[in-house]
Amino acid sequence: MSATLLETKGLCKSFGALEVARDISFRLDAGARHALIGPNGAGKTTFINLLTGLLQPSRGSVHLRGEDVTSLAQAKRVKRGIARTFQINQLFRGLTVLENVCIAVAERLGAGGSMLRPAGRRTDVIENASHLIGMLKLDEDAGRRVGELPYGRQRLVEIAIALGLNPRVLLLDEPAAGIPSAESHILLDAIATLPKDIAVLIIEHDMDLVFRFAERITVLVSGAIFAEGAPAEIAANAQVRSVYLGNAA
């Protein structure tokens, strides 16, 4: 049995009377390839925000490798190995692709606060970032400002930044949104090259990608876990089909 990397126990979040996460108990094992699906407004991104510390839960707890990290700030959770991408690109638009990834790598290597050497001479940081850029087939754009890139290419930069943090748990919030379908294999190839012990949780509406990627799927509806199981089980679940996949799926 795989070791549990990330776990939530009875996670709840309310905004006033609106309950957006309801008693979510969830487990992500080392090496998991897990997908979180659900209709719009189901609370998927909220759940990611609770996992990363961007939001604090109203009740319940988040555990990383057995340690309760519920009260830890976002930056400290990142240092412990949780990295994420955002549903809407959150990039340094005025900087080049290389500089974007370098910022993440520098933070991971503990060089982000260094004042002694020019960033351009940190070969350890640059080589690491360049490797990730190559992995996501962004080499040709490495010297271009991110704001000048098409949206789909920017999505890949989002992922390169997250990978630059060398995470133990990688949370991808609709990573393929905006990536031309012909290029979505780049994303899957990049995930395939990750070390096997990294857990990946993906939120995605592209069911084709979800079923190619995931070994396990959780369905979230109205802030609560509706169903969980292997892709075949989820695809065969009539209730899931009716609330989310539609009868044609």
């Binding site: 959150q90 340094f92 692709v97 910022i103 520098a106 982000g112 050497r117 001479r121 640059i126």
Partner: protein
């Protein structure tokens, strides 16, 4: 050229970066009658450079940067007036320490906030210091300030002469050079890159695990210390300090200088200070009673048509001609 070599090249010292310093030395020989004005320009550059670090690079919006300029000026003034500590270089160090300490304390509290709240709080900090200087007349000279300050010759050899600013000019040029080298190293370092990251996307910087607030407080402290050095230079070279060193007019003036030159670009402080003070000087000479109208119209034109400052105009021109981006 790969992106990595492009990045390394951009951070390397470029030959043209010698030009401002050659020009600075040339002014010393070519315009001996304008050295007092030149010294004010150099001090304004240093002050604007300190603001550029927080505003241009870290994106901290402040209207109270004169608080640190004034803190530095009053530090050397009070040390000279009351303790007889009038050695210029150690005075600069004391000013940097005091202004840096105020920057650290106020930054630790203020930088929990953003936007308009931060803007108002920086303004309030400056107003509090100004009022403290006004009320503490026994130490600060109150409304009259401290005129006729006396400072020892620089390195025991070069006296400050209020008629011929030769020593003052070279002193200010040297201090500016050292401070500029420090700021340049800082903004091109990973620390500087992370400040730019904070300015560009705060959410993402948190998500890469950067200790955002600590970085901002450090930048604010360093910037405050540099502004303190500028203020100390002002007091030492002019032999006086008064409430004007801490006022809104000075804070707004340095902001205008930076916007005029172009912020977040290192050399915007140079271009802005020279342009602003020369414009002010020329207009005041030509229209002694209405020069501020000319200044206002010019600034409006810049705000409307050159939103990235004078350097931004040059940048746009270069892009049009197919060149690369400015450093």
């Amino acid at each position: 050229m790969t992106a990595a070599t492009q990045l390394a090249a951009r951070h390397r010292f470029q030959w043209w970066e010698l030009l401002p310093w050659i020009a600075g030395i040339a002014v010393f020989f070519a315009f001996p009658n304008y050295l007092a004005f030149g010294t004010q320009v150099l001090i304004a550059i240093l002050f604007a450079l300190s603001l550029d670090l927080v505003l241009g690079y870290a994106g901290i919006v402040t209207l109270g940067h004169a608080a640190f300029f004034g803190a530095g000026a009053y530090t050397v003034g009070m040390l000279a007036q009351h303790l007889g500590w009038n050695e210029p270089l150690s005075g600069l160090a004391a000013a940097a320490l005091v202004a840096g300490a105020i920057g650290l304390a106020s930054g630790y509290v203020l930088l929990r906030t953003h936007g308009l709240t931060l803007l108002m709080l920086t303004l309030c900090t400056m107003a509090l210091l100004e009022e403290a200087a006004n009320m503490g007349a026994a130490f600060t000279g109150g409304f009259d300030g401290m005129p006729g300050l006396k400072f020892a010759p620089l390195l025991g050899m070069f006296p400050f002469d209020l008629l011929f600013f030769r020593s003052q000019y070279l002193y200010a040029l040297l201090v500016l050079f050292i401070c500029f080298a420090l700021v340049r190293a800082l903004v091109y370092s990973p620390f500087g890159q992370s400040l730019t990251g904070i300015r560009e996307n705060l959410l993402r910087m948190h998500a890469v695990g950067a200790p955002v607030r600590a970085r901002l407080v450090i930048a604010y402290t360093i910037s405050a210390a540099l502004a303190g050095v500028a203020g100390a230079l002002f007091a030492q070279t002019n032999a006086f300090v008064n409430l004007g060193a801490l006022g809104l007019e000075r804070a707004a003036g340095v902001l205008i200088i930076l916007i005029l030159g172009g912020y977040g670009r290192l050399y915007g402080a140079f271009v802005g200070a020279i342009a602003y003070l020369m414009l002010e000087h020329t207009l005041a000479k030509a229209y002694p009673t209405a020069w501020q109208i000319g200044l206002g119209v010019t600034l409006m034109a810049v705000a409307l048509y050159a939103q990235n400052g004078i350097l931004g105009l040059g940048d746009a021109l270069r892009r049009r001609l197919g060149g690369q981006r400015a450093p």
